[in-house]
């Protein structure tokens, strides 16, 4: 028996974990870890926070291996997992296919099941359960951004050929709503028939999954899958790379194609269905969102779109594509500030863009948009660099917004 984080007693078998928790850790394959440290070296929050993927893997081995070759983890070391942005660099750079990020998510699940969750994360998760969004705002207000745009609702159609899945951040955040408005203007300009779920849309659960709340993920996924069947949806597009990742990879959507807006619009460029009417004479650098690039290997489409906009000079950031620097907003970090964190990765990213002379930093994700725009404001570069979602750039070149 030992004391829990709340001071109670648990049936413990290792000194730290109970049988169920140990089962979660043992299901992961990390015995092949060489301790090369590539995971830690590539982690965007290492040195800013206490999180050290290599040490986490090494010390976890104590509990799952017969060889007690290293000291076991402490509760404070485990709690460092809340700093992870789930960018997946550690997975990409691991030469032994160990997937340190999965270990981080497993620890998050263990902490979630113990109820030991930072209060801001706990609030966001409870809001997702109660309101269907992390902000605790009524679902009736989900489509307020579309009030003056006459957008069709899926509930009013007999079948939905194309659904624009807007996502929570884009639906409720004042700044990110401009992504949704731009996307709608583009789709209408091209003459595409589409609908939105409006108040029937529920949080996609990407952040819920990456925070380790597996039960809640099942609940939100089930709600959205049910809606997709109810409204006979054939194809879904998203402007949020987090929604895209989870709808495409973690849902069981039978016979429904899921595309990110950059893929969808890139296809339309190939078919010559987009006519850019206005020059955007700007130097634009593209920031690869982790959930679009590293998690889903979509690198070419956003670049192709920008290259096709008349006047645009496309710059390649020093750290781009698979080597892209995370903005710092993923994995639930939008709702969690790490105590003592020296700086956010977004500030390094902005410096990189400024140093290479970019006038616009284009993104393809509302999380990146808000994180990077905040960094621009904090650093006082508002007159030098503008952060825009790629659909906002397209919308401008079509003469809208």
């Amino acid at each position: 028996m030992r004391k829990t984080v709340h001071g109670g007693h648990r049936n413990d078998v290792t000194g730290l974990f109970d049988k169920e928790e140990l089962k979660i850790l043992k299901s992961l394959n990390f015995n092949f870890c060489l301790q090369c440290g590539k995971c830690t070296a590539s982690c965007p929050v290492f040195l800013r926070t206490e999180l050290n993927p290599r040490t986490l893997v090494r010390k976890t081995l104590y509990f799952v291996s017969q060889l007690k070759i290293c000291p076991p983890l402490s509760i404070s070391e485990i709690s460092s997992v809340w700093a992870c942005t789930t960018c997946s660099n550690c997975v990409i750079y691991c030469p032994r296919d160990v997937k340190p990020m999965d270990i981080i998510l497993a620890f998050r699940t263990i902490l979630i099941e113990r109820g030991n969750v930072p209060s801001t994360i706990s609030e966001a998760l409870e809001n997702i359960y109660k309101f269907g969004n992390p902000f605790g705002i009524s679902s009736l207000k989900r489509a307020e951004w579309a009030q003056d745009l006459s957008v069709k609702k899926a509930s009013e159609e007999s079948e939905v050929d194309l659904l624009y899945f807007v996502g929570c951040l884009t639906s409720y955040d004042n700044r990110a709503q401009n992504i949704a408005r731009s996307m709608v203007i583009i789709l209408k300009n091209i003459g595409v028939n589409f609908s939105i779920l409006a108040e029937d849309e529920n949080c996609c659960g990407n952040e819920v999954y990456s925070l380790g709340e597996r039960g809640l993920f099942e609940v939100v996924a089930e709600k959205n899958v049910k809606r997709s069947r109810q409204y006979k949806i054939s194809k879904i597009i998203t402007t949020c790379s987090h929604c895209f990742n989870t709808l495409k990879n973690r849902y069981k959507l039978e016979n429904i194609e899921v595309q990110h807006s950059t893929q969808f619009l890139s296809d339309l460029i190939d078919k010559a269905e987009i006519n850019f009417s206005k020059r955007i004479a700007k130097k634009i650098a593209f920031h690869d969102p982790c959930y679009l690039g590293k998690h889903n290997n979509i690198f070419e489409e956003p670049r192709k779109i920008l290259e096709n906009i008349p006047g645009v000079t496309l710059l390649e950031l020093e750290r781009s594509r698979k080597n892209s620097l995370c903005c710092g907003g993923g994995g639930g970090r939008t709702w969690y500030e790490v105590t003592g964190e020296i700086s956010r990765p977004s500030e390094d990213r902005i410096k990189e863009a400024i140093d290479m002379g970019a006038e616009i930093l284009a993104v393809a994700c509302p999380f990146c948009l808000l994180e990077l725009e905040d960094a621009v404001k904090r650093m006082g570069y508002e007159n030098k660099l503008q952060v825009l979602d790629i659909v906002e750039v397209i919308c401008r070149s079509l003469g809208g917004l």
Partner: protein
């Protein structure tokens, strides 16, 4: 230490537009989610922490006119050992005094060392049930507790008063405390834990099964009307360039007699 926690399920109205119903004696709560009253969450957390330190059992009791399984399961998932729910449509029509009498009817025959209630409810905000229940049970009570410590079988509590003042009150057990928010940080109840909580003991009662006589429905408070107060302050957005806006501001200030 055996602890009873009284829990209410309340509508979460943050950001919601509340409209009175046809009778104007209630508000329309369609599409508004319900959850454990915020103050009760802190009371429950305090009870679970006491149990984890000193042993014993935590029993959650809730009186409601509507289905409260979700709130009850959340309490059990967080660490309560069992729950008693008294669900009866008649409850909706009665006030805090009647609710306290219903709780008294159930609790009077139970064994307990401590009863914890939230300091108030997030919906009606009367802060009455706890103190009325303690009076009916003839046990001492302390309200608005923000810290507590168990010393030699009695409780040393700190009450939150106005303007940063604090009051220390020592109380012998059994006692009832009404708990203020911020006393602790309530733990998270995962969906998996909520699902598992179904295996714990839940006793379902109604007013008939506890022999709560009709003569007991003698509430003290009768709601006359719900209404939205008239807005006394309004925000005016001025349009125009700097000169036009400045002229308009001066005009408004003159009209209000602030500038002469």
């Amino acid at each position: 230490m055996d602890i009873i926690v009284c829990v209410k399920s309340v509508p979460i109205t943050t950001g919601a537009e509340l409209i009175p119903d046809k009778t104007r004696k209630d508000v329309i709560l369609d599409n508004i989610p319900f959850d454990i009253n915020e103050w009760d969450e802190y009371a429950l957390e305090e009870a679970i922490r006491l149990k984890e330190r000193f042993g014993g059992n935590v029993t959650v009791i809730s009186v409601s006119s509507r289905d409260i399984d979700e709130a009850i399961l959340k309490c059990l998932a967080k660490g309560a050992d069992r729950a008693i729910k008294i669900v009866d449509k008649l409850v909706a029509e009665y006030d805090a005094y009647t609710i306290a009498k219903i709780l008294y009817t159930v609790i009077k025959s139970m064994k307990y060392d401590l009863i914890l209630c939230g300091a108030q409810a997030g919906d009606d905000g009367y802060a009455l049930v706890g103190v009325m229940l303690a009076s009916l049970l003839r046990i001492p009570y302390v309200t608005f507790v923000k810290r507590l410590e168990l010393i030699n079988g009695s409780l040393r509590t700190v009450r939150e008063l106005e303007e940063g003042f604090e009051e220390i009150v020592e109380v012998e057990l059994p006692a009832l405390l009404t708990v203020q928010t911020g006393i602790n940080e309530p733990r998270y109840a995962s969906i998996m834990a909520i699902r598992k909580a179904r295996q714990k003991e839940i006793i379902t009662l109604d007013l008939k099964s506890i022999n709560f006589a009709e003569s007991n429905f003698d509430g003290w408070i009768e709601i006359q009307e719900f209404f939205t107060p008239e807005r006394r302050k309004k925000c005016i957005m001025l349009q125009g360039d700097l000169n036009e806006i400045t002229t308009k501001v001066v005009e408004i200030l003159r009209q209000k007699g602030i500038l002469r």
